[in-house]
């Protein structure tokens, strides 16, 4: 019975199973594919928990557009403030005289050109708008949290529109999330606003937000009252200077006002800027002041603004980093090559153009003393002696020969100078050769170079110091650096106030604001109100904010770029004269190379001499075209929205 029925029983079971499979498998046809994806959070779920909303907000914070940024070192030292010591950059930066209307970055990995000056992220703006709208409707958040999150998103939106305005002038101002109804696309095509309307929008948002955002000077990475005021101060100042100095380049404007601001509006904007700066200076936004923790070493003090994250009263708003979570390799790619934590570094080599702009302690400008009046070399016992008596910010911004980084001396010298004028040098770092009259080879150039065309060596004689992280391991690929990118800091507020006051004819307060910044740099002799000039203002911003990106925006808003980068080769005589003049030509990055003097028996034996040098990799003279003042709106965008007008001179 059992045996006989096994077959039947099996068939029976099989039949049941088959039935089961079909009955289970066969859902209603219309329901079959209707399964909620598990990896996508719906709106209601995403806004069901305050922590969840905060993480969405955190993502929105990271999507701000910074130029320069620490994750991409070529954004930091362009415009001949530095020489780029990396194979493959020579051609793009020093053999190429133009920037392209989109800000040429260089070829990407496939050889196609890539660009830096074209942020156009309306997806980000849409998501900011959506965030605000959805946050408003969320039921799981209490009213206070809701209001603060929405205020932060509003701040980010205003900040991003400010960025777009800096690059493009007027852009479409979209303040709600747009939906396509499937028929009429023209309602989604928004024309460009006027440049002045963009700045008005940013200023209005900042003025509204400063009443909502928390007044807390210890919060650096999130929007605060201080950040809103700083944005207002900067935006109004930019608008004012575009109105005033834009008049010098009438062809850089559009009849509809999308580019260019009427000159008559300059004073109004200067007043807004000055007022916003004064609100921060008066302490109404929190306890901000200049960073002065190390009064005995002003250079280290200046460098520490960027790496000291504890109780840093200077910094107002940053893009923050944290090891293991969000980090960058700025130290890794720029650390002094000799004894580096990786077999690389030294990419940004500050140029002599910038280094000589740091003034002497008596408030005068002078080139470095390399030769006396008769043309003979001047001998220095220590490498650093030639840089003595200068603005303390020099050694805080630049690693000079003879100084140290992470307590390790750099080894920068280009060769051995003989008495007959010949130079003995080598083709590799720390090369050894036998000097005349000796029998044993010895080192004839530094382990940090400079050697022309050898990447990662200090080809201008300098490395960058600003934003380099002194922490152990910061130069390693596996660890990285958590130094923050400073977006607004108190020194800028002071210099904004100085500029606005000067333009409004208040030289006294202008001198007062500027002297505060200068004293911190060791320039203790105050400038008198009569000494404050346009050149002084431009100069002070250039050296205080070197490699922080201000130089780029300043050259644009002062309409100086086409005068400084006029396509004419920079001669040595031009380089060394008129230092401190705002429109001084700077088309090629020069270097200042130390050599060891070899003259056995002479008192000068073993001392250092310096030579001004232009790398043979610098073949082009930079030429800023009028079309460079505002980034190109690419044809793909123009085609999608016929209401957009083209930029001038493009």
């Amino acid at each position: 019975m059992i045996l006989k029925n096994t077959n039947m029983k099996n068939k029976f079971i099989l039949g049941i199973v088959t039935l089961l499979v079909f009955s289970v498998g066969c859902k209603k046809d219309s329901e079959y594919l209707n399964i909620k994806p598990t990896q996508v959070l719906g709106t209601d779920l995403a806004f069901s928990d305050p922590a969840q909303v905060l993480s969405i907000l955190a993502d929105l914070y990271t999507r701000q557009y910074d130029y320069p940024r620490l994750t991409e070192w070529p954004t930091v030292g362009d415009f001949n403030e530095a020489f780029y010591s990396e194979n493959g950059r020579y051609n793009a930066y020093h053999g190429n005289s133009t920037w392209d209307f989109r800000g040429y970055q260089g070829p990407d990995f496939e050889g196609a050109p890539s660009y830096f000056w074209t942020p156009w992220n309306y997806k980000y703006i849409r998501e900011l708008n959506l965030f605000m709208e959805r946050c408003q409707l969320a039921t799981a958040l209490d009213e206070a949290t809701k209001a603060s999150y929405i205020a932060e998103a509003r701040f980010l939106r205003a900040s991003y529109y400010f960025t777009l305005t800096q690059f493009y002038g007027g852009v479409p101002l979209i303040l709600t999330s747009l939906e396509f109804d499937g028929t009429d696309v023209t309602s989604l095509q928004v024309p460009r606003s006027k440049e002045s309307e963009m700045y008005d929008f940013v200023i209005q948002e900042a003025q509204a937000l400063k009443l909502i955002l928390p007044s807390n000077s210890n919060t650096k990475a999130r929007a605060t009252r201080g950040a809103a005021l700083a944005m207002e101060s900067r935006a109004a100042l930019y608008a004012a200077s575009i109105a005033k100095y834009g008049a010098t380049t009438p062809s850089v404007s559009l009849p509809g006002g999308e580019v260019g601001i009427p000159v008559g509006r300059a004073n109004g904007y200067y007043e807004i800027s000055l007022k916003a700066s004064q609100e921060i200076i008066s302490g109404s936004a929190g306890n901000y002041s200049l960073y002065k923790k190390q009064p005995s070493n002003l250079s280290e003090n200046f460098a520490a603004i960027f790496y000291d994250k504890s109780q840093n009263t200077e910094v107002i708003w940053v893009d923050d980093y944290a090891l293991k979570f969000k980090r960058h390799g700025f130290t890794q790619v720029n650390q002094p090559r000799f004894g580096a934590e990786e077999e690389e570094g030294g990419r940004i080599n500050p140029s002599l153009n910038l280094v000589e702009a740091f003034e002497k302690l008596d408030n005068t400008f002078a080139p470095f003393a390399t030769n006396d009046l008769a043309g003979n070399f001047i001998f220095y016992t220590n490498q650093q002696d030639i840089f003595a008596g200068r603005d303390a910010r020099l050694a805080g911004t630049v690693i000079i020969p003879g100084s140290s980084f992470k307590s390790r001396p750099v080894d920068i010298w280009a060769g051995v100078q003989l008495t007959d004028g010949t130079v003995i040098s080598g083709g590799e770092r720390g090369a050894q050769k036998t000097l005349p009259g000796k029998t044993v080879p010895e080192q004839v150039l530094g382990f940090d170079g400079p050697i022309s065309g050898i990447e990662f060596t200090a080809q201008t004689g300098f490395y960058i110091r600003k934003y380099q992280d002194p922490a152990i391991g910061s130069g390693q690929r596996g660890i990285g650096s958590a130094v923050w990118l400073v977006r607004y800091r108190y020194a800028e507020i002071l210099l904004n106030a100085a500029e606005a006051a000067f333009e409004l004819g208040q030289s006294g307060p202008a001198a007062d604001y500027m002297n505060q910044v200068r004293v911190r740099a060791g320039l203790v002799i105050p400038l008198t109100p009569g000494e404050i000039s346009f050149d002084r203002i431009v100069h002070e911003r250039r050296v205080e904010f070197a490699f922080e990106g201000q130089y780029f925006y300043d050259l644009k808003r002062f309409r100086l770029a086409h005068q400084i980068f006029d396509g004419v080769a920079l001669s040595k005589a031009d380089l060394l004269s008129n230092i401190g003049k705002a429109s001084k030509r700077s088309t090629q990055p020069y270097g200042l190379l130390p050599y060891k003097y070899y003259a056995p028996g002479s008192p000068n034996d073993g001392k250092w001499i310096y030579k001004v040098d232009l790398s043979n990799r610098v073949t082009a003279s930079d030429n800023w075209q009028l079309g460079n003042y505002y980034s190109e709106i690419v044809p793909a965008i123009l085609t999608r929205n016929p209401k957009l007008v083209k930029q001038p001179n493009q």
Partner: protein, 234 residues
Amino acid sequence: MKTKSHYIPFLALCILLLLSCKKDNFDAPKASLTGQLVYNGESIGLEYNKVNYELYQPGFGKTGPIGSTFTPEGGFSHLLFDGNYKLVIPAGQGPFLWKQTAAGKPDSIAVTLRGNTNINIEVRPYFMIRNPQLSYSAASVTATCRLEQIVTGVDAKTIERVTLYISKTRFADSQTNIATAQVAGTEITDLNTIVLKVTVPTLVPTQNYIFARIGVKFSGVDDMIFAPTIKLNL
């Protein structure tokens, strides 16, 4: 005979493939559109990769330009399909005036392309370089020329500088040169006698010829106007 029938499907497949290949492909564009910038029939020299132009072919939905830059001799060339095109030089481009519409935008030139076509684009440069003479002697290059003002009135531009470029290649301009000499516009007293002299540096690797070219830059205009490039034997 019977064995051959095996080939029939194979053969059919081959024919099918050949035919479909023919069907899928378009003809390559054949009509060549060439042209040059002229003023009263005289060609205008420019800098390599500096002066843009845009070609539009309306009537195909989205509008986007086919763009490029003029050659140093002021010419351009495209291989295109027959059709109706519009050529425009964007605002602010070139050392010359380009006619504008009433709205102040650059006007376009209609180009009807049926087979190979050559067009002359008439423009009005701010100045013309007349009678450029270049010579080499005693390790230096001397250039003389005359400048004639073409555009006068409200649109007139002043000369910012006159520059002599020498180069190892035919591209003698601000981007590739080995030496330059220049005179600022404010230092020019007589537009009829402009003299520039530059010493030829050591050529590495050596060559027994160089190229030289005179360019003029106008204030408030990006692009320079150039005289023809001259090859000089050393």
